[in-house]
């Protein structure tokens, strides 16, 4: 390790923060995440209610659409993908894209086999 001056300086990469906590206190973190949680709960209620609609196949589509919306919300806000580095976003997108390859080509076979009954 290179020789360093003994005085320990705060190694925070951003401008050195004052020791006293942010004047708004932890509120800032709650203000960012709580509304998302409320929306998630609403979506959950909606998906449960939608399951009982008598429209047959569309209910399933709605159920999974809402699940997709919840996933997007959790990923963007809770997992901070919104302002994550480009590389991390590409990795997340790759996960979905490869899962899509698996689904599309396999279901292409399964569905065309069923259609040929």
């Amino acid at each position: 390790m290179s020789a360093k001056s003994p005085k320990s300086e705060t190694p925070k990469s951003e401008p050195p923060k004052s020791e006293t906590p942010d004047p708004e206190g932890p509120g800032i973190v709650w203000r960012r995440n709580l509304p998302v949680w409320v929306v998630l709960m609403a979506l959950l209620a909606l998906s449960t209610w939608a399951a009982y609609w008598p429209y047959g196949r569309i209910d399933t589509a709605i159920g999974f659409g809402i699940a997709g919306a919840k996933t997007a919300l959790v990923a963007l806000v809770f997992m901070q993908l919104k302002h994550a580095s480009g590389l991390v976003r590409i990795v997340a997108a790759c996960g979905l894209f490869w899962a899509a390859i698996l689904f599309t080509l396999t279901l292409a076979d399964v569905l065309s086999r069923m259609a040929n009954r």
Binding site: L87, G95, I101, L102, L105, T106, V110, R113
Partner: protein, 567 residues
């Protein structure tokens, strides 16, 4: 050569030990001799050695099974083995060779050792994860060997349902658990390499200055991370159905065996690219070094590697043309299988182009590399036969397919592994090996290989099915030729074990750069110190700055005195 902040000013980017009379740091081999220091190491170089030991052991287990299989097939009748023993042997050969030798062979040994060295890093990004990867591989291997000793498994390495779940009463669950565990070792290596290449490249080492070997490791890691989880799930479903009776693929209760095949081949086709891409990386290094030239069309070679890794995920259906899959899906898969062959063709032309106007030497690594290009071309071209549906319908599950994938896996991938092993042997062990023995072994391996597997193409098109221990007599001539070739090949594989071990003990010490190669790994001592480099390397130029006029490569890094002798 700007000095790096923080290090004492040194004229060269890398501290020159003799000038600055720094004590030369101890090589990684001498950095602790206790068993604990080896078994709990987080040094990527030591983990590479640990992997080299395990895969060599498994290579000879799988090889022994192959010899017995070839022995049995010399005669049309079951003269040597009973049906059950034969079925267990070819399954063992498949499982051990695929998961415990070929897949870890280049990425986890040469890759682990060289990727940090080639990009100028001290170690991989997650060293502890690297050690966990080896223990997972070892654990999986022990489970598989336990299943073998307990009585073996007779389902074939593909574990097709419903035979593997309902009808086979052999040790399927234990083997499946073993392969499941080894799968996570591959995922761990994949995560490690992607992290390392993204985050730990030396200053100046941009993406398009990376050696092609590092690109090959990166694209292989992409497949490790994205394909292996699907294998884990497939084997988990087989295990759950056998152990808890959960009817997932059970046809009697409405399950669909073809769904298993989709899941299995979604992993297993990228797996064959996992086995061949690292070999391509090694060959790119060998051919450039021994023809003293920059690689022909570096960017095309990089895009070809990435294209193979990505399109490789779209083509698995060509394993299922006769399986009852819908013919429309079969057409889609057939088209995509033709497209995936294009990047491989480009790479072959570029390797050949690299030789043009070079200074071609014929040391043993180069013989392996030239053998690779020839055999890979034939193996790849027969892949086109299998991609066209009418021909594939005839040759599916016959010895034509067996010959095709052995040409790629053994002809190409194992030759490249041996080529890489010989090329980097001085760097890894600090010793040189006997060159004449090595050349003889390489040539013997090439001819032994062709004698073993070319007759199988003919037997295959004649209609001899695979996994048969008794066969109609008209196929015997081809099987006798193949069994004879197998004997020659076995001899050729035993030779390196001999003279490389000899070189470990008695080989004379190797210099830092015996081949005058241009990679960063040749800029440090052989064997390299625990921290890989004396200073922190800075990179100025592209990867292969060789010059055909026989001039030694331009050194963007200062030459370092090899241990003990000032060269």
């Amino acid at each position: 050569m700007s000095t790096t902040a923080g290090t004492t000013a040194s004229p060269t980017g890398l501290a020159d030990p003799d000038e600055l009379d720094l004590r030369l740091p101890v090589s990684y081999l001498a950095d602790g001799h206790s068993v604990r220091s080896w078994l709990l190491t987080t040094d990527h170089k030591r983990i590479a050695i640990l992997y080299a030991i395990t895969i060599t052991v498994f290579f000879f287990i799988g090889g022994a099974a192959a010899t017995l299989v070839r022995l049995e097939l010399a005669t049309p009748e079951a003269d040597v083995l009973r049906a059950d023993t034969y079925n267990k042997l070819f399954t063992l050969h498949g499982v051990v060779m695929v998961w415990f030798f070929l897949i870890p062979s280049i990425p986890n040994t040469l890759g682990n050792f060289l990727v940090p060295l080639m990009i100028g890093a001290r170690d991989v990004a997650y060293p502890k994860l690297n050690l966990i990867s080896w223990y997972l591989n070892l654990g999986g291997g022990l489970l598989a060997v336990a299943a073998l000793l307990a009585g073996g498994v007779d389902t074939g390495w593909t574990f097709y349902v419903p035979y593997s779940t309902v009808f086979s009463n052999t040790w399927v669950s234990l083997t499946v658990l073993g392969v499941f565990t080894t799968g996570f070792s591959s995922i761990a290596t994949g995560v490690n390499f992607i992290g390392t290449v993204h985050l730990l490249r030396a200053p100046g080492m941009t993406w398009f200055r990376l050696p092609l070997f590092v690109w090959a490791m990166y694209t292989t890691s992409l497949m490790f991370v994205l394909a292996t989880p699907v294998l884990a799930v497939t084997l988990l479903l087989v295990f759950a159905e056998r152990t808890f009776g959960l009817p997932i693929f059970d046809p009697a209760r409405g399950g669909d065996p073809i769904l298993f095949q989709h899941l299995f081949w979604f992993y297993s086709h990228p797996a064959v690219y996992i086995m061949v891409l690292p070999a391509m990386g090694v060959v790119s290094e060998l051919i450039t070094c021994f023809s003293r030239r920059k690689v022909f069309g570096y960017t095309f070679m990089v895009y070809a590697l990435v294209a193979i890794a990505v399109i490789g995920f779209f083509t698995w259906g060509h394993h299922m043309f006769t399986s009852g899959m819908s013919p429309y899906a079969a057409l889609v898969f057939s088209f995509l299988s033709f497209i995936v062959a294009v990047p491989s063709a480009i790479k072959v032309f570029n390797w050949t182009g690299t030789l043009y106007r070079g200074q071609v030497g014929f040391e043993s690594p180069m013989l392996y590399a030239l053998g690779f290009v020839g055999l890979f071309t034939l193996g790849g071209l027969t892949g086109l036969f299998l991609a066209s549906i009418p021909v594939d319908v005839h040759v599916q599950d016959t010895y034509f397919v067996v010959a095709h994938f052995h040409y790629i896996m053994v002809g190409a991938s194992v030759s490249a592994y041996f080529g890489g092993l010989h090329f980097w042997w001085p760097k890894i062990t600090g010793r040189t090996y006997p060159e004449t023995w090595a050349r003889f072994a390489a040539i013997l391996m090439f001819f032994g290989f062709n004698l073993t597997f070319f007759p199988q193409f003919i037997a295959g098109y004649l209609g001899m099915p695979r996994r048969y221990h008794v066969y109609p007599p008209e196929f015997q001539i081809w099987n006798v030729l193949s069994s004879a070739g197998a004997a020659v090949l076995a001899a050729a594989y035993l030779m390196p074990l001999g003279y490389l071990t000899w070189s470990l003990l008695f080989g004379e010490r190797a210099g830092n750069n015996p081949w005058d190669a241009s990679g960063l790994e040749w800029r440090t001592s052989s064997p390299p110190p625990r921290r890989n480099f004396f200073g922190s390397p800075r990179v100025q130029g592209g990867p292969y700055n060789y010059h055909p006029e026989g001039v030694a490569p331009v050194h963007d890094q200062p030459r370092l005195p090899s241990r003990g002798s000032l060269t």
